[in-house]
Symmetry: C2
Subunit: 659 residues, 2 copies
């Protein structure tokens, strides 16, 4: 039975939840397939996450391996394939708690960086799990700056082998997933040396564990890097190499090769590598970032209509906490952001598909734009969503702090996305560098990619809004965002030039502008996000039933951004103080409007109770019963109190001193 406080929220929905769900999925067919995958996975007890919050690192790891192994069988049974339409829903349905993700990266790196011969040798072995692969790039001392990697691979002409070493402690490989305990092989990135000359970082396939008994190979030291904030199910590992010899054929040699006599040959373009990173960043935005935020919103919003606390009006029943303006102001902008970023994901995917078509025609012109956009959005979306999940957690008070709410796990996991696949600040600076170049080009009339032509359109101007309703016009707020992006990009470009002209050296000048460069890159991404949301809503015309509520969410996302970053809009008077008061009024009005559809808006994400795995967020809203039921399952309640005989009893019986 559904908690009546939750049921009543559903009865007044202004739109059809099912229509919204299928639209979010892309088609009714997609919705059908997704639900079928979820049903098959969640109906299989091997994939259960029931005890997840009570498990140790060891137990989580074992469960992830078990699931990964079982998944092979399941896919076979269900007729799912890696290229089938079901595949993209499997990981989502498993909520990521599965091993061998790095095995897939191992395979991808061989497919991309290996010769046909290498692909023909290794891919079948890997596909059939006759080996388990990992991907050993990051070292203790180097993450972001790949050129600084310290592992070495020295070519020995006499034996036709590479000799691999991690010559100092900071060179030790550190973090690779699946490597601490599972992998038998890994792709090691190392500085290539031939005849004493360094040729930079190259990838090598190295066996690290015996295929017979899984013992470490000679010269290999490897293990688990220990406890982390989350990802207990992954055996992130360390790896030291001492004079490990591998055959010449194990250097992945599609683009570079060391010939038997030691001649180094480079061929083709390595630009395609950027493309791989781009793909990874765009796909992680969806799976690792937006879905967790959607889950967090679902949990926090459902809880906020079930939880009643204090009174809005004297003499009445206690109020649902979502009816308090401060609670709306915490949660509803995060809900709007989840939608905004879902649409930006589609935007990026389209950009990527277009770029890929060009690349297939050997046209690499789109790569810089793609790289800049995927970097900037990876940073902005992960940062925003991480903060948003934290807000959801805090908005649930004490119960949000319990692991049983599901929110701590979502938070500690999404937090990692700010760091992996490129640290966010570094990525934003790469986007900024692209924007600076484009701005300079646009200013001098040179052609720039269509997505940044707006940079040439800068003019002082003022926001034309005359009353609070004007701020519900997408043109008004989109232009405001555009204005800010142009101003921040152009001002920073000017500062950079001034510094250089005043004699500061280029790299120092760059460093002195980085705080503002980061701001400019964020403003650009924020502008594109708002613009894309507004355009998405506009295109919805035919689906009138959901267009209205999507328009509200778009307005909320945009106005929340202006309200919370007021400074950049007020700075040059583009928006006046009086107009900012109108923004605030419209923004606060919207909260009360969207609150009425808040539950249907999270219902549309269509998460099952099992996938939420939250005592606060289930569809039926039976929060307190579930918290109690689940707490009783805790190992702390299932055994004798370990402290009683040794400490509490002697203390209470006053026999401590006699011990």
């Amino acid at each position: 039975s559904v908690n009546p406080d939750l049921a009543s929220e559903r009865q007044t929905a202004s739109f059809s939840v099912e229509t919204l769900t299928t639209w979010l999925d892309g088609s009714t067919e997609n919705t059908r397939i997704r639900r079928a995958v979820v049903k098959a996975i969640e109906g299989d007890p091997v994939f259960s996450r029931e005890n997840q919050y009570f498990q140790s690192q060891n137990e989580r790891y074992e469960a992830a391996v078990r699931k990964a192994v079982h998944l092979q069988k399941k896919m076979h049974e269900m007729g799912w394939t890696e290229n089938g339409p079901e595949f993209k829903y499997i990981y989502r349905a498993l909520s990521g708690d599965v091993a061998f993700l790095l095995h897939r990266i191992f395979m991808r790196s061989i497919s991309v960086l290996g010769s046909d011969k290498q692909i023909n040798k290794w891919i079948p072995l890997a596909s059939q799990y006759q080996l388990i692969g990992s991907y050993a790039q990051t070292e203790l001392g180097h993450g972001t700056y790949l050129q600084g990697l310290e592992t070495t691979a020295v070519f020995d002409v006499a034996t036709q082998e590479f000799i691999l070493n991690t010559p100092k402690i900071s060179a030790m490989k550190w973090w690779p997933g699946d490597m601490g305990r599972s992998a038998t092989h890994t792709v090691v990135f190392a500085q290539l040396y031939v005849h004493g000359k360094c040729y930079g970082v190259h990838p090598f396939i190295v066996q690290i564990r015996s295929l017979q008994d899984h013992s470490l190979c000679p010269g290999i030291t490897a293990g688990d890097i220990g406890p982390k904030m989350n990802f207990e199910h992954i055996d992130n590992g360390y790896l030291m190499l001492q004079n490990v010899r591998i055959p010449r054929e194990n250097m992945l040699n599609k683009f570079c090769e060391v010939q038997p006599d030691g001649t180094y040959v480079r061929r083709g373009s390595q630009q395609i590598n950027y493309f791989t990173m781009t793909t990874v960043r765009i796909s992680l935005i969806s799976d690792e970032v937006i879905i967790p935020l959607m889950k967090a919103c679902t949990i926090a919003i459902r809880y906020s209509v079930v939880r009643r606390q204090s009174k809005l009006k004297p003499g009445e029943q206690e109020a649902k906490i979502l009816y308090y303006q401060t609670q709306q102001e915490k949660l509803l902008p995060q809900l709007a952001a989840a939608y905004a970023f879902h649409f930006i994901k589609d935007y990026l995917q389209e950009l990527l598909d277009k770029g890929y078509r060009e690349i297939q025609r050997k046209n690499f012109d789109t790569l810089p734009e793609l790289h800049a956009f995927s970097s900037g959005f990876k940073a902005v979306v992960t940062q925003y969503c991480t903060s948003a999940v934290e807000i959801c957690l805090r908005a649930c008070g004490g119960h949000g702090y319990s692991l049983l709410s599901g929110l701590p796990s979502l938070y500690t996991k999404i937090l990692a996305s700010c760091i992996y696949e490129g640290e966010n600040t570094i990525l934003l600076l790469q986007t900024a560098r692209f924007l600076m170049k484009c701005f300079m080009a646009a200013s001098t009339g040179q052609p720039v990619p269509p997505s940044v032509t707006y940079l040439a359109a800068g003019k002082p101007g003022k926001c034309p809004a005359k009353n609070k309703l004007d701020f519900l016009s997408p043109d008004i707020y989109t232009e405001a965002y555009q204005h800010v992006a142009i101003r921040l990009v152009s001002n920073t470009a000017a500062k950079l030039q001034d510094l250089i002209q005043s004699g500061v050296r280029k790299h120092d000048a760059w460093n002195q502008c980085t705080v503002q460069l980061v701001q400019a890159a964020k403003a650009h991404c924020h502008y594109i996000t708002v613009k894309n949301f507004a355009e998405t809503v506009e295109k919805l015309e035919t689906k009138a039933g959901i267009q209205k509520i999507m328009k509200h969410l778009c307005d909320l996302f945009a106005l929340h951004g202006i309200f919370s970053n007021a400074g950049v809009f007020l700075h040059d008077g583009y928006i006046s103080g009086a107009q900012m008061d109108m923004v605030t009024a419209s923004y606060l009005d919207l909260l009360a409007v969207i609150r009425k559809d808040a539950v249907p808006l999270v219902d549309a994400f269509d998460f099952t109770d099992k996938s939420l795995n939250s005592a606060l967020g289930s569809y039926d809203g039976q929060v307190y019963q579930r918290l109690y039921e689940w707490a009783r399952k805790s190992p702390t309640n299932k055994q004798i109190n370990p402290a009683y005989e040794r400490y509490l009893k002697p203390l209470l019986h006053n026999t401590l001193s006699k011990m």
Copy 2:
């Protein structure tokens, strides 16, 4: 041996670290005592936290009990007493990992709420640990809104007993520390009923476990609430009561009593209860919030001069990451905040001491101010410091995400401070209510507490700064903060009145203003923090050696606040866009200046390696060695891989299908 990259940072300190340390401690004598306590605690293996990051909830709990029990012995040995000068340093030295904190609250509540007779009966038993107490206030369904508690205590005249019940699931006590597994007694807050009439929430002493064998008493259901984001060492518990009978004498009756015939008598003032909450909030700011932030800054800043990544200038060695402006901009404002809040703690303590002197003279006039300030600052400081610790964590990249960095534990623990002892939004609204009252009073010429007389001084005005150096004048920035606080308070008061005058009912009007009320309360606290920091620096005149660097930190704290909340300063043109550019320039200049003293500034916090318990933050900066050493101790590396025989071997040997 100290890492030379760290050592070099210390050689160029612009001030004496020891002078700063003793000044922070309050006196050289305090420093001496603190170090003696730390030495005694850290030298005792029973108090070791060495394996903390590898322990399960069960193990953490057992260790906390062990430490609490051992602490009794230690205090006796060392001659430390609860009223001695050492006491306040013990908890800090233990890093909070100790049980029976609620036992102390149990005793305090009896001392404050109990009659002399009750005190004489219970306090000696508790002091000698012939019982273990807890404090059962929060329920599954009620935290903030105490009047809504659902546990009942019905007086039975016939037997002269109270009959206690948790009549529905939401009435179950939930969260009390020490209650899940340790406590034998607890103070239960319940709605008192006599002859069918409800007299509101009152405290009752209830035994929940046998003193003989620790089994649950009749009618009691209790246990652990399960895993949380942190505080694994605390057995937060649940408690259900079914017709539990306790004698009439067990209602704490200093202020209210039920006489044998059922007559309810109320006597004296309960205002003093607010004072207890005030004390708790102020003391938690120091122990649970500022110290963790100081630790996080120490870890992140030391790491940032040891970690080298990428190159600032082509051809040079890789640069220490603290030399990048973006890294400075992440960490140095947090360092400045740690100092700012350390000084606000002194400010609050002084306010409290003054208030206490008045209360002893039966003058309760200072209570509203004290309540408003302790509430507002509890919220502002916990929120700010939680975000700050998160920034420190993220600023350490992947290594910050490892539990071994110490940062995840600091973060997950400090996060709870935003929720316990009053949820922050609720607290800020209480501060706002006080500010509204004072503003109204001040506007009509009525007297207000000295700390808020500034609210009457509002006038439009403009910031007089003419160049970026003017913004290094405390008068300039303090006035800007004051101006903003007045504007937000007065504008919100005006909005509130407008709404009411336009016919909106008072409570609805209040709810429609709460987002802005929260902003106003924060602006007030921010202003007081900046003002107090500036005054503290001014008073330092004689200690010239540290005044200069403290002035820099004060400037940084203030300008960072203007830079990151630019909107509220620009809104009415008090600061112009051109002036905001000056703020930005001065702010960025300061980062480069303070960076030079960053390591000495964290060294002055004087944390030992054991108290930091961080592979990244130790005094010697041997980061990579320590990460590796510690990782090898992980239980995941100490046993057979649990997944090998069952899953990996059959997979690799292709015998899965045959299983």
